[in-house]
Every structure is written in C-alpha cells, then in structure tokens.
C-alpha cells in the first residue's frame, strides 16, 4: 500500500481538479470566441459558495452530499493507494448513488427528472466500466493497482485498444460533457435547468463541486492506468484526453437519453466485449 500517493491524492486532488476546471473554462471560452474567466475562477466560486447560506429543501440533502464527497475521496484514495480495482469501481458507483438520492430528496420536478437521467447515465456507462476492470485484469492478471502499476510488463494499452476507446466514450458521460450532459450540464441552459444540482445552493453546492474535482482526478488516473507501467506517459495522455473532451464538448449538440444509453451499450458490446473476446481467443 502506497501511503504517500494516498496522502498526495487527498490533499492535492481538489487543487489539480480545480485547476483543470479553470483551464477547461478558459479554453472553452476561447473556442467560443470569448476571453473567459481567470484560471483560478473555480476556486473563487467555491469559496464564495461556502460563504453563502445553506438553503435546502430538506436537511438530509446535505447529509447525502457529505456521503457523496466522503465516498468519492474513499474511492480515489483506494485507487491511488494501489488497492483493489474492483473495490474502486463499486465504491465509485455507491458515491454516485448518494448524489442521485440527494437529488431525489430535493423533490423539485427538475431535480427529479435530473436524478432519473443520472440513473440512465449510470446504466449507460456501467457496462463499459465493468469491461474496463475485466480487461485490465486479463491483461495484467491482477486486480491490485499497485501490482499493475509497478510490475514490469508490456504497456497494457497494447492488449486493450478497444477497451481504451470504449472507456473514452463513457468518459464523456462521466465528465458531464456534451453530447452526454443530460442530467446536469456545466451551463444552466437546459430544459431541466441544472438537473440534479438544481436544488443545491451555498456550501452543499460547493461540496458537489469539490467532489467533482476529486472524481475527475480519479477518472484521469483510471485513463493513465492503460499506460502502466509507464505512468508518466499515462498522465500526459490523460491530460491530452481531457483537452480532447473539451473539444468534443464544444463540437456537439446534447443527445437524447435514448441515444446516450443505446450508443454506450453498442460501444461497450463492440469495443469492450470484442476486445475481451479477442484477448480470450488469442491472448
């Protein structure tokens, strides 16, 4: 177990995630022909949110959000500590469930529809995430991230090109980027306003923001795992992938839920399952 990376993750992931969000907003603005906010704007926003009154429909909403944050830190923690990859996936799922529950607690029609859409999104990306775990296991013969990351073996992506592409596809859903920003988008311009986060203000919205920063760093870590044992290359590729996601976000209209679910399943079946089949037959 690598305690150092664990501490580094817990302490610096929000910083890195916030910076990424700031760079994201800046690049998005430039792509749209605007100047955009300062790079540190996400931090200013969150600080401002914490100075506001916590106005919620039900107090339990905030409790769920705290659980959302706690489980996300826990998930990222075990990932960066080099523990079991299966556990990472299941606790990530649990963390997201808390967000859905919090949205249902808001009892507003917007957040209720948002929560339903979030469940559909989970349904859309979960098969591919499971294929990701299976693929990594088949290529490295272990679930332990530390072993995967440190053992000298050929780079995992050489065995998993299909899973890599499929994972990129669902990463767009996870990062809440167009065309798959159904349940909530970065801009409140949607038929369901802000979707699952509509009913949150002040500190609880700030907590959601911080949780997303943790989540994004975790997701980028999962991308870089494809390049194990060369993790520096992996980190570089993960950042490039993030830039690609910003580009995709700016070049697509929002899809409907039907397209999101079915296309993700087709991608999971063809790229994910196909890759695993190939590994079983020829690996």
């Amino acid at each position: 177990m690598d305690t150092l990376t664990l501490i580094l993750y817990v302490a610096f992931a929000p910083l890195l995630g916030g910076l990424l969000a700031g760079v994201d907003r800046r690049i998005t603005a430039r792509m749209q022909g605007r100047f955009g906010p300062p790079i540190l704007q996400p931090f200013y926003d969150v600080v401002k949110l914490f100075n506001k009154e916590n106005l919620v429909v039900r107090r339990s909403q905030t409790v769920y959000i705290i659980f959302f944050l706690a489980f996300m830190v826990f998930t990222g923690g075990i990932f960066y500590a080099g523990e079991d990859l299966l556990l990472v996936i299941f606790s990530l799922m649990l963390a997201n469930t808390f967000l859905v529950l919090a949205a249902y607690k808001g009892s507003s029609p917007y957040s209720a529809i948002g929560a339903e859409r979030e469940l559909l999104q989970i349904m859309a990306y979960e098969p591919m995430v499971l294929f990701y775990v299976v693929g990594i296991y088949m290529a490295s013969k272990t679930f332990y991230i530390e072993t995967i990351a440190t053992t000298q073996h050929p780079m995992l992506i050489r065995f998993l090109p299909g899973i890599f592409l499929g994972f990129l596809y669902v990463l767009t859903i996870k990062l809440r980027k167009s065309p798959f920003d159904l349940s909530t988008s970065h801009h409140g311009h949607q038929e369901i306003v802000k979707g699952i986060t509509t009913e949150f203000t002040g500190p609880s919205l700030g907590l959601i923001e911080i949780t997303h920063w943790y989540e994004n760093v975790l997701l980028l870590g999962m991308v870089s795992l494809f390049f194990a044992p060369n993790l520096w290359l992996g980190a570089g590729v993960a950042l490039a992938i993030y830039l690609l996601e910003i580009f995709i976000d700016n070049a697509c209209a929002r899809a409907r839920w039907q397209f999101t679910v079915f296309s993700s399943w087709v991608v999971a079946a063809v790229l994910g399952f196909g890759n695993i089949l190939a590994l079983t037959l020829f690996g």
């Binding site: 792509m31 022909g33 580009f247």
Partner: protein, 112 residues
C-alpha cells in the same frame, strides 16, 4: 464529414483573438452617428421649448423664466427628434451612453 463540423470555427477561435472586448477595461469605440445621448450647447439655446413639445417621452423640460434646460436621462430614448426640431440647432446627438444616475426621476440641469 457529418461529425465535428464546427471544428474549423472553434479551432480558429481558440488560436485567434477573442471576438469580445474586455469591457470596461478596454473602452468601446462608437461609430460615427451612433445615437448615444443628447447634448446641448446651452449658450445658444433660446428656450423656445419646442424640444419639450416634440419629445415623445416627455423627458425634456424647458423653463423660459429661469433659463434652465432639463433632461431626464432615464426617460430619454435617444430618438433624435428634439435635435431635428431645434430651430437654433443647439441640441445634438452624441455617441456613448450617458453615465448612470442614482435615482429614477433625477434630471440633469443646464443653466444658461
């Protein structure tokens, strides 16, 4: 290609200059003839109050006795009707918006 058809436009914007201005740090340049606000050369005003009668929003008031020309900037719609009607040609339309006022109904006075 039916995907990413906007890529040329967004990549050009990404590496080019933004289309917006850093207003108000960079002031906006107005084109000549832009209707911003009415200005008065009050020295040549004869206080005939024709502008007051022509004004469609009743933003102007002229006092012949005290020689005061008043304008309520919030009512003024910058239509240039008064400047066209003015017999002495002392009213003119200038570019740029008039500065903010602190309370509605506040008038700007010009004494001869």
């Amino acid at each position: 290609m039916p995907f990413f058809t906007i890529s040329k436009t967004i990549l050009r914007s990404l590496f080019g200059r933004p289309a917006t201005l850093m207003y108000p740090a960079v002031p906006r340049e107005y084109v000549e003839g832009s209707r911003g606000h009415i200005e008065i050369a009050v020295e040549s005003c004869s206080f005939c109050s024709l502008c007051q009668r022509k004004c469609p929003t009743e933003a102007l008031s002229v006092d012949r006795e005290t020689k005061i020309w008043k304008i309520d900037r919030l009512r003024c719609i910058a239509c240039n009707f008064c400047a066209e009607a003015c017999p002495k040609k002392c009213l003119s339309m200038a570019t740029g918006y008039s500065p903010a006022v602190t309370s509605p109904g506040e008038t700007e006075e010009h004494h001869a």
